[in-house]
Each structure stands twice: as structure tokens, then as C-alpha cells.
């Protein structure tokens, strides 16, 4: 069996790639896609950590279920807002939003 720590590190790497993408991409849709990737990496981390717990991964799996369900709700809401924004502006960059500006 593959040691769970491998999965944890893989989850961290993808999480960081997606985080970098979220902070740098100009396309709103790509920002949303990065959020999806980050959510998936967190699920992976939950399952991998849970796998080395005495309950045989039950806790990690249960929490990953909630991450997946709530993550899907978030993406649905996000797409609705992005679509509304497209309709108003017909453009799709994060420049107007100025993510890190105060």
C-alpha cells in the first residue's frame, strides 16, 4: 500500500499550484477552476490523514464528503455570480476586482 504521507504531500503541491493560479490568473473562470482544484486537494488531504487514523479512515472520509458537497454548492453560487458579472461587463478578468488591493 502507498503510504498516506505521499498523498498528503501531493495534495499540498496541487493546493499550492492552485493557490498560485488563483492569485495570478486574470480570468475569472480560471480563478474558479483553481478554487475547485484547491477544494479537491483538501479532500485528498482529509482522506489521506484519515487513512492513518485508528478508525480506518472513516472520519477523514466523512469530512471529505462534506468538503465535496459544500464545495459543489460554492462553485454553483460562484458560477452564478460570475455569469451575472459577465452579463453586466462582458469581460472576464480579475483586474477589475483587484483581489489583493485594499
Amino acid at each position: 500500500m502507498v503510504p498516506p504521507v505521499y498523498f498528503m504531500v501531493l495534495g499540498a503541491i496541487v493546493f499550492l499550484i492552485a493557490m498560485f493560479g488563483f492569485l495570478t490568473r486574470r480570468s475569472l473562470l480560471q480563478a474558479l477552476m483553481c478554487l475547485e482544484l484547491m477544494t479537491a486537494s483538501v479532500s485528498l488531504t482529509f482522506i489521506a490523514i484519515g487513512r492513518s487514523m485508528p478508525d480506518g479512515g472513516l472520519g477523514g472520509m466523512a469530512m471529505a464528503t462534506f468538503v465535496i458537497v459544500i464545495g459543489a454548492a460554492e462553485i454553483g453560487m460562484g458560477l452564478a455570480i460570475v455569469m451575472l458579472y459577465f452579463r453586466r461587463h462582458g469581460d472576464a478578468t480579475t483586474d477589475d476586482i483587484d483581489l489583493l488591493g485594499g
Partner: protein, 163 residues
């Protein structure tokens, strides 16, 4: 041994497709790469013996949300120009943040792995998961349905065309 080979193949493909997703200039290609990454995530869940979650991942993420993403683009047709520019001035800052987080995060995980037991326990089955979701996790399970209701109502209201 087979597990190791599968893991490294999936890991390499996942990292490659995630990076490619960020740097591709075409939206459709980007979505396909995302779907591919999410499918690989499903495979990784299966490697960790979480078969139910692997299926859930495929259905919800690789299936549903990717499809909705494509629909949004087809319905609202954002300008192609939005997908052509690659880097913006925040890149330096973002790179700094990511590198600053990367080292402590990975070293934390490695330390964490050391504290967790390495003996293989009996695997929790989907049946166990079902009992857990309606047992100790019943409250978040029920509340998640309210969250979904709120998200549904909000998204429908926002996406509705006529005022």
C-alpha cells in the same frame, strides 16, 4: 508495488495537468485539463480505498461542475481576450506567498506523517461511511442540505434573466 506505480503515474499527470491548466491560452483546453485533474483526484481517492468518495468526486466535480462551467461560458460568451494574457503584476507577490507557505506546509505534513500510526488498519467501507454520516455526523449532514438549498435559491435568483 502496483499501487506505487499507479500513484506516481497519477501524481505526475495531476501536477502536469494542473500547471498546464493555468498556463493554457484557450478556455476549452483549460476546462478539459481541469476535468482530467479532477478525474485523477477520483483515482487517487480510490487508491486510498475511499471508493464511494472516488465515485462522488467523478460525478459531482468531474461531471457536474465541469459541465456547468462549460455552460456558463457558452451562455455568456466572455471575450476571448480574457484568456490570452498570462501574467499580471501580482505574480511576484503571489509567488512569494506560495513559496513562503510551501516549506512550512510540506515540512508540517512530513512531521505529521511521523506522528500518525503506520500500521494498516481494517479499511472503513462505504457501509461504515453511511452509518457514520447518519450517526455521529448527522448534524453536519442535515445542515449541508440547508446550505445546498440556500446555494440553489441564490444561484437561481442571480442567474435568472428577467427582473
Amino acid at each position: 508495488m502496483t499501487g506505487m506505480v499507479l500513484f506516481f503515474a497519477a501524481a505526475g499527470a495531476l501536477i502536469a495537468s494542473s500547471i498546464a491548466m493555468l498556463f493554457t491560452r484557450q478556455f476549452v483546453r483549460s476546462v478539459v485539463l481541469l476535468a482530467f485533474s479532477l478525474i485523477l483526484f477520483g483515482g487517487l481517492f480510490a487508491l486510498l480505498d475511499a471508493t464511494f468518495l472516488a465515485l462522488l468526486q467523478l460525478l459531482v466535480y468531474a461531471g457536474a461542475t465541469t459541465m456547468v462551467l462549460v455552460f456558463v461560458v457558452m451562455l455568456s460568451r466572455p471575450k476571448v481576450a480574457a484568456f490570452s494574457t498570462l501574467l499580471q503584476p501580482q505574480t511576484g507577490l503571489a509567488a512569494f506567498v506560495v513559496v513562503a507557505v510551501a516549506y512550512p506546509l510540506v515540512s508540517t505534513l512530513l512531521t505529521l506523517a511521523g506522528t500518525l500510526s503506520s500500521t494498516s488498519q481494517p479499511v472503513a467501507t462505504t457501509r461504515d461511511l453511511a452509518y457514520a454520516l447518519l450517526g455521529p455526523y448527522a448534524v453536519p449532514f442535515e445542515l449541508a442540505s440547508v446550505v445546498l438549498l440556500a446555494a440553489l435559491v441564490g444561484a437561481v435568483y442571480l442567474a435568472r434573466e428577467a427582473e
